[in-house]
């Protein structure tokens, strides 16, 4: 895929990551841990991989150049109390909280105890040490690094110090969601925050976890959140994964989810993306057993200079599976949106039911939207539908609302909100839905 020119393109940037890694290792006071071995391996692997250029089909509309330019450092621990994070939690939601500030785990705000029986949330480091989870944790790390061709995942594995391991035992239903909050505040240097979650639901179990990525209002720093999720859903199990992003004007995000589903299972991903300077979400699911369901519900809203790119992939490899995908977004000012939804229906995946819809509103002349459904169907007995619309607000609706006394701004906000609300209806957890709605409304009012 890469030519000689492309290989050289980001050589200097790659070198900077290597140096940062060496510095961190030199400063590392802790005694050697098996995880550090993996991190070393991951860094070596990263050295052999290339950063994507716009010549790569998958990065045609999104250049990572800006993301790679700052001289990143690892964040320092910051004092933060419960009151400081209240604004980033869904109101009334009882959740197990894990908090990172500028990429550093906040011990005082995070709760690893008091989980219901059969639900486990711990540092990957500790999981590796434990008799019970050691081999599972290692197996996942091995698989993440094996044949890995994504340099961002390799870098994530190299730099992620506080990777989390989430695990539900067989037939355990955990009512209380886990909420992983990433908060960015002002720092002296650009901050690199690398974080990995390994989530595993055993047969017949169910849990929800929410990732919140926010910049504190008033902060202006440059930072790069490189987040990776590996999600494994066992037979007849269900994982709900929420991703709420509201990054700063100089916040960069590369986010990747690799999900793998066993038979009769469900995986539901809910993404609310209110942007950053550049946000790239990669959401991938592979089907390993029949009669399972994959749900992708996404909302995005870009303003000003924001760039939001959602790349999704569903790999229908076995018969009798279903996927539902609904993405809706708004871009205005000079914002740019990208949606690429790939659905692969392999030869054996007969009786597949795949539905995909992507709709966007482009509200200014300078805003841009590229939407590409990509259906590759190799089975003949399937039901697949897809639609992509890019449009403006319906002016006769604007007129109608104004004829009742709402001003132009109110009328448009009401219609934009309605456009997006359709997706939020599918959010399983009401408090998250209300929270997402509140965040979106705030952005309308800005």
């Amino acid at each position: 895929m890469s030519t000689t020119v492309a290989q050289d393109r980001y050589a200097a940037e790659k070198q900077k990551f290597q140096e940062l890694f060496d510095q961190t290792e030199a400063a590392n006071q802790q005694s050697a841990h098996p995880l550090d071995e993996y991190r070393q391996r991951a860094m070596t692997l990263a050295g052999t991989l290339d950063f994507p250029t716009r010549r790569w089909e998958e990065y045609k509309y999104t250049s990572v150049n800006r993301i790679l330019q700052p001289d990143y450092a690892i964040g320092q621990a910051q004092g933060m109390d419960a009151a400081d994070i209240q604004a980033y939690l869904p109101e009334g939601m009882d959740a197990h909280l894990i908090v990172f500030v500028n990429g550093q785990l906040s011990d005082s705000l995070s709760q690893f105890a008091e989980l219901p029986a059969g639900m486990h949330v711990m540092l990957l480091r500790d999981a590796m040490d434990s008799d019970r989870f050691g081999s599972i944790a290692r197996e996942h790390m091995d698989r993440i690094l094996k044949d890995q061709d994504d340099i961002f995942v390799a870098l994530n594995a190299a730099f992620s110090q506080h990777s989390l391991f989430l695990y539900s035992e067989k037939n355990v239903a955990c009512e209380k969601p886990v909420y992983i909050l990433h908060l960015s505040t002002n720092a002296e240097t650009p901050i690199l925050n690398s974080h990995m979650n390994i989530a595993v639901a055993e047969t017949g179990s169910e849990f929800a976890y929410i990732e919140g990525q926010f910049e504190k209002p008033g902060a202006t720093g440059t930072y790069f959140n490189n987040i990776y999720n590996r999600v494994t859903i066992g037979a007849n199990a269900h994982i709900h994964h929420y991703c709420l992003q509201q990054e700063g004007a100089e916040g960069f995000v590369i986010n990747r989810v690799d999900a793998e589903q066993d038979r009769d299972s469900q995986f539901s991903n809910y993404t609310v993306d209110l942007g950053g300077r550049i946000v790239r979400n990669n959401l991938n699911t592979v089907h390993k057993g029949s009669n399972l369901t994959t749900n992708y519900y996404g909302v995005y809203f870009g303003k000003e200079q924001q760039h939001i790119d959602n790349h999704t992939f569903i790999d229908h490899a076995v018969p009798h599976c279903q996927s539902n995908e609904l993405y809706k977004g708004i871009v205005t000012d000079s914002a740019r949106g990208v949606f690429n939804g790939k659905v692969m229906v392999r030869k054996d995946a007969q009786k597949t039911n795949a539905f995909q819809q992507s709709s966007s509103l482009v509200l200014s002349n300078k805003a841009e939207m590229d939407s590409k459904p990509q259906l590759e169907i190799f089975a003949d007995d399937v039901k697949c539908s897809h639609g992509a619309t890019i449009g403006q607000l319906d002016e006769s609706s604007v007129f109608y609302l104004r004829s009742r006394g709402l001003n132009d701004h109110q009328a448009r906000a009401m219609l934009q909100h309605a456009f997006i609300a359709e997706v939020l209806e599918y959010f399983k957890h009401e408090q998250v839905r209300d929270f997402a709605e509140m965040l979106i409304n705030q952005k309308f009012e800005q």
């Binding site: 007129f399 104004r402 004829s403 709402l406 009328a411 009401m414 909100h417 309605a418």
Partner: protein, 253 residues
């Protein structure tokens, strides 16, 4: 209330209203009838503030102000209400949220305090009863999937909630069965006051059995070619429009 003088309006260079004169005083009910395509909806839309039309000449004064200079929402807040012939469906906007927003926007414009959730619910319930609507519509998206009659009632509900000074009803009676027609008419009659005026566009004399107009006007080829009292409506019902067309066309030749 409303004074229209020699109003000429065009769409895409085609003159549709060709010199309308009309005076509506507080408390009056004016019916406007006329054959299809004569310009009735155009007239109603120009008063409500739709921008697709080009006013070529003439003036419209509303409560002494130059109406044509006002934005559509300003007109609404100044007390003009238009019940549309074809209300748009707006998926995703819940009817109840919409009603709350418009009631409070109008209250604010009148210097009244916003209603809280309890007061609002009570107020909406009261008016819902007035127009004979089912409360379950509140939970649905605005006009989405409503039948023709339900859309018209939703328009009447909005009118009742906003208590306008001048209400324009564009064929609110079309497509309603007798029961629905009676309910809508009763709602209008209950809202009739000394200060509130109505312009009712209709094809059918039937409605005017329930809502008694003070004046009936016939619009033809963009002009009011005949005005009279309610007996004119009965005459039209009897004889159709041909005799009026003949009169007008004969003069034109």
């Amino acid at each position: 209330m409303l004074t229209v003088k020699d109003l000429k309006v065009a769409v895409e260079d085609k003159t549709i209203l060709n010199g309308i004169n009309l005076e509506v005083k507080p408390g009056e009910v004016h019916a406007i009838m006329g054959p299809n395509g004569s310009g009735k909806s155009t007239f109603a839309n120009v008063i409500a503030g739709r921008e697709d039309y080009e006013v070529e000449s003439g003036s419209v004064l509303y409560k002494g102000e130059d109406l044509l200079e006002m934005e559509v929402d300003e007109r609404a807040l100044a007390g003009i209400f238009m019940a549309f012939q074809y209300p748009v469906e707006i998926p995703g906007v819940s009817t109840s949220n919409f009603l709350k927003s418009i009631v409070n926007a109008n209250r604010e414009a009148r210097g009244l305090e916003a209603m809280n959730a309890m007061q609002m619910l009570k107020y909406i319930r009261e008016k819902i009863e007035l127009v004979g609507m089912d409360e379950k519509f509140l939970r649905r998206s605005l006009n989405e999937g409503f039948s023709g009659g339900e859309k018209k009632r939703s328009e009447m509900l909005q009118m009742a909630l906003l208590e306008p000074s001048l209400a324009i009803l564009d064929e609110t009676d079309s497509g309603l069965d007798i029961d629905a027609l009676r309910i809508v008419s009763e709602a209008v009659n209950k809202l009739r006051t000394q200060d509130r005026s109505f312009i009712i566009v209709t094809h059918y004399q039937r409605l005017l059995n329930y809502i008694e107009p003070d004046f009936v006007h016939v619009l033809y080829k963009g002009r009011i070619v005949k005005s009279g009292d309610k007996s004119l409506a009965l005459e039209l019902e009897d004889k159709g429009y041909d005799w009026i067309k003949e009169e007008v066309d004969a003069v034109a030749v």
